[in-house]
């Protein structure tokens, strides 16, 4: 599989960092556990944020839920990226050639684009919106897209090991 991968990924896998992650008894398991813990933070934050945008917890002012949940989601995403990068580096040439991983990477890009380009502007001006007021269609659409994409990303992440 090694020879099929792009040169920079082979270099990444063969780097000192890659070797250190593979040769340590604990680095890889710790990254693995960290990735799952970060996932729970990320998934919970995304779920709260998106459900509020869709109209759940209607008794709260939307901004009071959506904005802090979005910050927590960004923290979760950053931790997933860090731990994911460790796991990826250990076997970059294999993983990058894995079809499910490629689908997952594409979905992550779409999820981030949705969060930045569709959800971001839609929730930028909700600070004064009172409770029991539905958010605009654009915000609800972004929330549905977000939920679908991130659930698919999680499924792909687990399925990489089987393809």
């Amino acid at each position: 599989m090694l020879h099929d991968a792009p040169q920079f990924l082979i270099a990444l896998e063969q780097s000192g960092l890659g070797a250190a992650i593979r040769s340590s008894p604990w680095a890889y398991p710790i990254a693995n556990v960290g990735h799952i813990l970060a996932l729970t933070l990320f998934a919970a934050s995304v779920a709260i944020m998106d459900l509020r945008m869709l109209g759940a917890f209607a008794g709260t002012a939307p901004a009071s839920v959506v904005h802090p949940a979005r910050r927590m989601a960004m923290l979760g995403l950053a931790l997933m990226a860090l731990t994911g990068f460790m796991l990826f580096t250990a076997e970059a040439s294999h993983v990058a050639m894995n079809r499910v991983f490629q689908i997952k990477a594409g979905l992550i890009a779409l999820g981030i684009l949705n969060a930045v380009l569709i959800a971001g502007p839609a929730i930028a001006n909700i600070a004064g919106v009172p409770a029991h007021t539905p958010l605009p269609t654009r915000a609800r659409m972004a929330a549905v897209i977000s939920l679908l994409i991130w659930v698919a990303v999680a499924a792909c992440g687990r399925l990489i090991a089987y393809f």
């Binding site: 990226a81 890009a109 990489i160």
Partner: protein, 115 residues
């Protein structure tokens, strides 16, 4: 926020995975394979230790356990070093010809369970 997400996008262009064969579904568990011969290559690394064994019929890539489990079961790197003679019992991969996952290995008269 936009800039943070843009950076995250780049970092995530190549993110996370566990390529370990969890559940081991792609191995033929209906037929136990025994591979015996000298170890020609040994990669004592996570997520799985792998050794290359020159058996009489062909050369096998034998997938063992993660480092921490190998160590806790009494199989340090020296036990599966190049030149040692190993007997590995396990299941052949249905996806990758010549690869097997070992259920147990015997080296120097010592048997170590991998699962």
């Amino acid at each position: 926020m936009r800039r943070t997400l843009a950076i995250a996008l780049f970092v995530l262009a190549a993110p996370a995975a566990v390529l370990a064969h969890h559940g081991w579904g792609s191995y033929d568990a209906s037929k136990l394979v025994t591979v015996e011969g000298p170890i020609e290559a040994s990669t004592y690394a996570n997520p799985h230790v792998q050794i290359t064994v020159k058996a009489p019929d062909k050369t096998w890539t034998v997938t063992l356990a993660p480092i921490s489990r190998m160590q806790s079961r009494g199989a340090p790197a020296e036990l599966v070093a190049i030149g040692k003679t190993v007997k590995a019992e396990g299941y052949a991969s249905k996806a990758e010809p010549g690869e097997m996952r070992a259920e147990r290995i015997t080296v120097d008269g010592k048997t170590v369970e991998m699962r």
